[in-house]
């Protein structure tokens, strides 16, 4: 219980852990026959390891780390395309810092910057807009990347650019959605998932009903959760109680932030600016139907794919993942990070081979940071 002392309210944590243990025993969860709960969001993965929740909960509960980190699921082909845009004459390429170190086929954005491309880390798409205003002779491209939490901010920036008639701003849109990969995982006959912890900040935008299919069509419980350790423990308990009572519902543990039907302004902006792509490629998961967004024809002038004839506008590129990289298996819960032959050997945070080690929200980076590095030492 050494980690419990770090909780702000250890008493509350102990009560929750005892209750989780009680219900886990009640449903017959045990180490050799665990209940598999997938936390979809990379932020949750990070919290689970930071607070040692995987070690604190009953041994019959196993966390499966889902694909909910947009940097981690970014295929190498997308990174290559970013670099191709960035290296064009007159372009200022802007991106969130998270994507800078993701390896492409030949190099990362960070390496391309070192090679002379004008690549700038921005905090917000609004910074990219401001760069476009200040540099009318340059083409400013923003790398739109992220799930539904981030999607409306790019949409609002595009709407603002359209209002101002900015002709030198565009977005390389790689925004993706949470429900479809969950459906793809549930349709996978090899997956064994008993319940889900839903991403809180995604639901702050889309509400809780986009997950109805998980409960109604697949009979699995889900609790949308916040990011504090007590939030996560409470969510685990909510999922276990549903299993114990034979229920499958979408419950909202994070109601203090998540409105049932989401944020209407964000949803309207998303609907106005984007449409669903027929399919989109995910690292480790392959092509998933209707899982990505593209910019509507109405805003074509702000679509970097159209402007530069790249990405899906130019046809799909086949790019294999780095040899030996098991990000796909880790992301679908088939392999633990430490079981990957490259973990801590060919792949470390300093020299990442795969995206799960690059992003701080990636399962491998979390394992490494909170003890995984020690786990790999005896094998060396």
């Amino acid at each position: 219980m050494k980690f419990a002392s770090e909780f702000r309210d250890p008493k509350a944590a102990k009560v929750l852990l005892a209750e989780i243990a009680k219900v886990a025993d009640q449903i017959g969860a045990m180490k050799d026959k665990p209940v598999h709960i997938m936390e979809v969001c990379g932020g949750h993965t990070h919290s689970i390891f930071r607070y040692g929740l995987d070690k604190l909960v009953h041994e019959g509960i196993e966390f499966i780390h889902g694909p909910g980190c947009p940097v981690c699921v970014l295929p190498r082909a997308r990174v290559d395309e970013c670099i191709e845009i960035a290296e064009r004459e007159g372009v200022i390429f802007t991106t969130f810092g998270d994507a800078m170190r993701v390896p492409g086929t030949k190099k990362s954005l960070l390496q391309a910057k070192a090679d002379g491309a004008d690549i700038r880390m921005v905090y917000s798409p609004l910074d990219a807009l401001e760069l476009a205003r200040r540099n009318p002779e340059r083409e400013v491209v923003f790398f739109g990347l992220g799930f539904e939490t981030t999607t409306p901010s790019t949409a609002l920036a595009i709407q603002q650019a359209a209002r101002e008639g900015l002709g030198n701003f565009s977005v390389f849109c790689n925004h993706i959605t949470v429900p479809e990969p969950i459906k793809a995982l549930l349709d996978d006959p090899h997956m064994c998932l008993d319940g889900f912890i839903g991403p809180g900040h995604v639901s702050m935008v889309i509400g809780i009903h986009p997950y109805d299919f998980i409960a109604q069509d697949y009979g699995k419980p889900i609790a949308v959760a916040g990011f504090e350790p007590l939030d996560l423990l409470q969510s685990v308990l909510m999922v276990l109680r549903q299993i114990a009572e034979g229920r499958a519902e979408v419950e909202n543990q994070y109601a203090r932030v998540v409105p049932e039907y989401g944020n209407p302004v964000s949803l309207a902006a998303i609907d106005d600016v984007y449409e669903t792509r027929p399919s989109f490629e995910w690292r480790g998961l392959g092509e998933i139907d209707k899982s990505g967004l593209r910019i509507r024809t109405q805003y074509e002038a702000y679509d970097a794919e159209e402007k530069f004839g790249i990405g899906y506008a130019a046809g799909r590129r086949e790019v294999e993942e780095a040899e030996g990289c098991a990000c796909g298996q880790v992301m679908t819960g088939r392999m633990k990070p430490v079981e990957c032959p490259q973990f801590g050997r060919g792949c470390t945070p300093e020299m990442p081979l795969g995206a799960l080690m690059v992003s701080s929200e990636g399962a491998c980076a979390a394992y490494w940071q909170y003890g995984g590095a020690r786990a790999v030492e005896p094998a060396e």
Partner: protein
């Protein structure tokens, strides 16, 4: 990338663009408040919001803001968000 950080809205800076000044962990940053705007923007001054990549995404109460900040500091996320804001300023300065 996907976590919001609490900030307090301290002033409205551009009514037309729906921009406001927010104080995030002691650092002031202009943010867009379109997603939390209901009625006159002045009503937002003094309120707390979860700020995500330069947008106020959801209003929260002060107690929630404090708890969230502590959790984010524990996770290193608060520092990361502040570093990203500084990186954004540097990008605008041409670095």
């Amino acid at each position: 990338m996907c976590l919001g950080i609490p900030g307090q809205i301290v002033a409205i800076t551009d009514e037309t663009r729906q921009m406001a000044m927010a104080e995030v962990s002691g650092v002031r940053r202009e943010v867009n408040v379109a997603c939390v705007a209901e009625g006159a923007l002045e009503g937002l001054v003094g309120q707390w919001a979860l700020i995500h990549v330069g947008f106020a995404m959801s209003l929260i109460d002060e107690d929630e803001a404090e708890k969230t900040l502590i959790a984010l500091r524990d996770l290193g996320e608060a520092q990361e968000a502040l570093e990203q804001m500084a990186a954004g300023d540097a990008a605008l300065a041409g670095e």
